[in-house]
Symmetry: C2
Subunit: 225 residues, 2 copies
Amino acid sequence: VASFAKTDRNKVRRLPERGVYDAATIYAIVDEALICHVGIVHDGHPAVIPTIHAREGGTIYLHGSKASRLLDYAGHGESLCITVTLLDGIVAARSAFHSSMNYRSAVLFGSGHLVEDPAAKLHALEVLTEHVLPGRWAEVRPTTAKEVNATSVVAVAIESASAKTRSGPPNDDEEDYALPIWAGVLPIRQEFLVPLADPRLAEQAPLPSSVLNARRSRVDGSGRQ
Amino acid sequence: VASFAKTDRNKVRRLPERGVYDAATIYAIVDEALICHVGIVHDGHPAVIPTIHAREGGTIYLHGSKASRLLDYAGHGESLCITVTLLDGIVAARSAFHSSMNYRSAVLFGSGHLVEDPAAKLHALEVLTEHVLPGRWAEVRPTTAKEVNATSVVAVAIESASAKTRSGPPNDDEEDYALPIWAGVLPIRQEFLVPLADPRLAEQAPLPSSVLNARRSRVDGSGRQ
């Protein structure tokens, strides 16, 4: 889809001018985030679980152990909400009332099914691995059939979605601009620090391109990828 | 409470050795995070909304416009799940199977009520402002009665909670340690960059201590506060 229909489910009610429905914007937010928060209903109560995700087209992959309660639930067609939030800055206005955050968030609705075919599971695991650290799949020891079997993979079809974003300086009351109070934005970025090699690292194991590229993408200010 | 009772609701099922129930650990995670993800049930479906939070004792404050659907829902005693996640690193193992993330997450369950008393609301707004940027409340133009009135504040009593954490190097299969594959952790930190002054900044408005201290706390590696 190029854009998601605005429905009762995905409509941005508060500050509708911040609402976005085009798939490209929504998917860019989903792809930049390292993790998502999955909402489920368990015995009538809400539960929100953080987990790694990856997107392929209109599908979100989740994975984990066969014993995972989230994946068991998510794999059986129950209604899910997957939310992704990128925090871009603290907006320090001249009043507490107009202080805010700069952010890009995406809220996806859909339902999932367990991926059972081993080849399809292996593919999803590659997509998930590549999402977290692009290039890593080719560097690691190949995944075994036993490992594929021990992992649950859920594919969630995105049925509806929206994004909400805020950027830029504070929007203060007109009369407050003259006050001698500093106002502006304290930008936030998720930074990758110096890689810590495993103390049990074998000899002849140089820092790989996946890690070098990830570091580079966060140091030159260009964001991920 | 010093520690939350382990119940069906808050029990960490997957990798129970990563589960934590003591309030001090859980609250430290909640306090370090700038935002949370609130899970609600709307017409039987889950919805997950990112928002600013602040904790005072066993209470979480949420706030927003009077028109906010989340606050309307949360203010009427419905069951809530508030999840906070701090991402500490990408764990690059020698296999995709053992690759993981280092993180600290807290999952809180409870129900909320609208704070109606103006003085109590004003206090909650101070707690929320100070959570995001300690010291800021004293720097901004005082909050007016009209602003307090236009804001909804919800106090959520934490009834049950747990935390889950992972730290340290990968846990690879014993036979994989000899492989010439780099493994380790790519640490992640939420960094505050150079503050961007509002283009409409008045003269005589130097960078305030709140912003300077926040920056300092993230630059010297000591974390928040």
